[in-house]
Symmetry: C3
Subunit: 156 residues, 3 copies
C-alpha cells in the first residue's frame, strides 16, 4: 500500500509541477530514460528526460490546469508498476487559443534508490474542445505560483 | 486497506469500461442482481445486470467522459461495503446534443469469490448543462479506443 | 495508511457538506480554532470556525459543485498532517452569475479525540472563468439534496 500511495503522490507532483511551472519538481518525476508517447494525442515520441523536458519547457502556455482521476495502479514487481489514469486538461496559450481535453494516461513506473519515477507515459484523448473563447476573468499567471512550488508547499 | 483499494479500482473500471465502450469490462463490475436507480436523475430503475446492460449498450453516445471524485468507502462487513462518489459526466449524443453534468453516486458493494462488485447504484445530479454547443474539435470515437480496453491496458 | 484514508474522507465530507448544504456535516470538518485564508483567492482571512461558518452559510449560492483531485498528504506527527489538493469549483449565484474555477488547497490537519479535522486551509486559483452564461437545464437546488446528507448516505 505504501508503494501505491507513493505512486499516487508521484503523479500528483507531476500535475502540480506542470501547472505551477515548478520545472525542478516536474523533471524529477521522470526516470532519465523515460519514453513519452504523445503520438495518439497528435504529438511526438520523446526519448529521455532531457528531450521531453526541452519540449515541456518550450510549451507556450499562459496557464494550464491538469487533473488526474481514478487511478488503477498495479505492482508488477518490487521495482516495477503500471498505472492507468483518466485526466482533464484546460490550457490557455500565448496566442489566445484554448483547449479543454479529456482522456487517459497509460504509464509504467520504476523504483530505484527507494524512489518511484515515471518510466513510460502514453497519452490519448477521448475528446478535445478547442476555441478562442472569452479570456478567463482571472489567470494567476505562471509567475505568481511560487506558493505551490517545492516538495510540500502545505508545510507550515 | 486492500478492500478499499479494490473497490476504488472497481469503480475505475466502471468509468473506463463505459467511456472506452469495453462492455465486457463494464458488465463485470456489477453483481448479477444489481439494482441501478436512475430515477432521481430522471431515468428508470433497472433490476439485474441484464436489464441494466441492455439499457447501457443502447445509449446513443458518440463519446462519453465520466470522472469520479472524492470516494467515501466504508466496510460494513467482510463482504459488504458502501460508497459515496462525486462525479462529472460530459456526453456527446448521436443527434448532436451534449450534456455536461455534476452529481453523486450512492452505492453498495458485495464481495463474492474474492471479488468486489457493485450491488446497488443510485445516481443524482447537482446540476446539468445541456445544449447543442459547437461540436468538439476532436472526438476519438468509441471505435478507436481499443488501447484502453482490458484488465490492464498499461501493462507492457 | 488509516490516517491518510481518514484525512481523504474528511476532505470528501468537506466537499459533500458544502455542495449539499449539510452545514452540520460541513462545520464538523474544522477545528474550533481553524484559520481559513482566502486572501490569495481575492477573499478574506477567517479566524475560528464560528467566523468562517458565518461567511460560508451566508454565501448566496443557488448551487455549487466542488471537486478535489490528486491529494498529497503527509503525516508530520501522530496528530499533525499536511495536505495539498487540486480542485475545481463551479458555482451558480442567486443573481444569475456563475464562476468556474481551478486551483489548489494548501491545508494542515490536527487529530484530537481520535478524529482528524482541518486546522488551516489556504486557497488559490490557477484560473477563473466568470460569466452570465445560459442557466443550466437542471439544478437540483440545495433544498432537494437531503439524500446526500449525514455521515453515510449510501448506507442501506
Amino acid at each position: 500500500m505504501d508503494d501505491l500511495e507513493e505512486i499516487r503522490k508521484l503523479k500528483a507532483r507531476y500535475f502540480r509541477g506542470l501547472d505551477s511551472k515548478d520545472w525542478a519538481l516536474y523533471e524529477d518525476v521522470f526516470t532519465e530514460d523515460v519514453v513519452v508517447d504523445l503520438r495518439v494525442a497528435g504529438g511526438e515520441l520523446y526519448r529521455g528526460r532531457d528531450q521531453f523536458m526541452a519540449y515541456a519547457r518550450g510549451l507556450k502556455l499562459v496557464q494550464s490546469v491538469h487533473q488526474g482521476h481514478m487511478p488503477e495502479i498495479e505492482l508488477i514487481s518490487a521495482t516495477e508498476a503500471t498505472g492507468v489514469w483518466s485526466f482533464e486538461d484546460y490550457n490557455l496559450w500565448e496566442d489566445g487559443s484554448q483547449n479543454h481535453g479529456y482522456g487517459h494516461y497509460l504509464e509504467t513506473y520504476a523504483k530505484a534508490g527507494g524512489r518511484w519515477r515515471i518510466q513510460t507515459m502514453k497519452l490519448s484523448y477521448l475528446r478535445i474542445d478547442r476555441g478562442e473563447w472569452a479570456a478567463p476573468t482571472f489567470v494567476a499567471g505562471v509567475q505568481k505560483l511560487g506558493h505551490l512550488h517545492g516538495a510540500n508547499p502545505a508545510r507550515p
